[in-house]
Symmetry: C2
Subunit: 404 residues, 2 copies
Amino acid sequence: MIDGPMTAAALFHGTGRLFDAAFGGVSAVQSPWAILVEDGRVAWVGTSPQDAPRDAEPVDLGTALVTPGLVDSHTHPVFAGDRADEAASRHTGVAYSGGGILRTMRHTRAANDEELELLVERRLDAALAAGTTTVECKSGYGLSTAEELRALHLLGRVAARHPVRVVRTLLGAHAVPPEATSADAHVLTVCDEMIPAAAAGALATFVDVFCDRGFFTVAHVERIAAAAADHGLGLRLHADQLARTGAAEAGARLGAASVDHLEQLDAAGVDVLAASPTVATLLPAPAIVLRDTLPPARALLDAGATVALASDANAGTFSGWGAMPLVIGLGVTLLRMSAAEALTAATRGAAHALDLAGHAGTLAVGANADLVAWDAVHEGAFGLTLGRVTSRRVFVAGREVTPG
Amino acid sequence: MIDGPMTAAALFHGTGRLFDAAFGGVSAVQSPWAILVEDGRVAWVGTSPQDAPRDAEPVDLGTALVTPGLVDSHTHPVFAGDRADEAASRHTGVAYSGGGILRTMRHTRAANDEELELLVERRLDAALAAGTTTVECKSGYGLSTAEELRALHLLGRVAARHPVRVVRTLLGAHAVPPEATSADAHVLTVCDEMIPAAAAGALATFVDVFCDRGFFTVAHVERIAAAAADHGLGLRLHADQLARTGAAEAGARLGAASVDHLEQLDAAGVDVLAASPTVATLLPAPAIVLRDTLPPARALLDAGATVALASDANAGTFSGWGAMPLVIGLGVTLLRMSAAEALTAATRGAAHALDLAGHAGTLAVGANADLVAWDAVHEGAFGLTLGRVTSRRVFVAGREVTPG
């Protein structure tokens, strides 16, 4: 990795396309362009380095397409084990007994901290190599209080030494572990043990719930949301993936930052999300791995909802790390978004979903100077290559962190 | 690149899964496994290196999933220029005037040999890094006799120094160039100039025709097929992509090795291909980039047709290089193939499509010892990760050619 010095100031510039979702409206492209970075943040944006208000070390990004660092607002990186055999069974229509989240829970509980940290670190390396500079990371494969807190602590240790910005989410309510007597009892553990401990240790920003058929109910979400609010943690939900439970509306009503999945969302749900600040986060990769319905991306965009695209990289339903360029490609092709809409969803939209609007996913003045120069000249490349666009240079807070 | 010595003999072995489409039936998996390689070919296959009929240098591939090198039987790598802007326009529903194949023809004609060779070489590097050891490469962006022959010569020069096995195809009938007075006149040039020159110089194995609405007709295919046969060149077709022209049946009737695309194929066409030795080659990547119908993969497989999966990497409708793992992932998810069917289609099926059955895409005795150890333990990983499976070690003719 090129691990550049933290310079006091740098003047990035190029003659290619600078795509930034923040230049008014949905998106805008500027060419040529120049950005002054001071103390890791964007201090000025213009069309020529000559116009910059102050002198600074120049960084010429040539003719490359430049975007804000991508934001992946939904991942589950803390797990051990491999479930490719189970995926192969599912794809031949054969049920795999003993599979699912609890199989990964067993593998994860059996792994020591060192093994798990190495796995998480490699997954963040893959994200960074794919131009993704902010990644939401969930616990959720530990499921006991001790194991969930272990996952959050471990994420904190990796984040402290990794260039990627990590946003931590407690997903204690991912499944009911075998030692719990019921889903209700597990929700009590989440509310009375996990949330207070995560908040007291500043181990998470958000609490998430897998609200779906066979997992947790909207009533469970209400209890967990109340505990999260009591402890100053934000809310986000797995919503309306397997069945239409009304989780999307519950999320909007309870002030969730984001409701994620939405494969089963109907027109009424679209209207509720369009009228709410809650972000609609779409995850096309697991939708196709599960051969499921695709979420109503066009309807959400046309109704004016704020839409994010995220990978949902996880153990069982999509295990692709560093997949955000592919996810943008799937957004353009399968979800019928324009290149600008999909790239906006993977930057500004995803930052909104993490309560980081204005800080990440944009190169507006005041934002973190997280930017990527791509091996491409036009944002249409994400669709045309189905995400086989590689990052040429990656910067986080103005510092070069290009892998390789 | 690790460019190992050509050893007289090597004994590959592992305790993971060896997936080989050739172990009888559609596919089979063996674990543990051992393969004796002599003079670049598979000499013996068994379950333990101890059983090998002769001693040889051992190569331990551990617990990794091992497959034959992937075969990409449909690519267009000889071009310059970038059409990502055009893709972005198409994805917003705006027609791009002056785009298409002729735009790439202008860029390609304007590029010198050195530029074009470097582009082709990088594209083959990406294929090799993605475990793809045999690649069919078409001309088709030159369109004049001189430019088409230049492309085939150039492919020959790159192939001579690149580890990937290259199969060359003359695609003079890709579009009608501006200097031709009509499609009929261009077909005459293909038949009377290009095919004889390509055959005389041993510059191509196959001739291909873009038989579709707005391009070339079945009548044109018949003329070109006759010229190809006269000169000892094989036939393959772009068939039934944009409209149902009957090209698939024409290919079967004329003895084409493969008919490719087939998005518009109907039940009658499925039956014809199932009863013929012509391979049905499916290209899911451009189908989704064009937001088109998907080809009837399940119907073809269920009817007993030989199916291949290929990338169709090209300038305008899918520009992903090294995309075969993704294509297998799209086969499993969007085309509803099993992992074994998709991997078989990308190895044995694609080798059939190139008249290389028994030589490539298999590790049966007598085949070229082209094999890949993947960063995966089960072939289900191709679907579960949508192709984000990386090659750990790659061998061509028993020689290590691992990139990196």
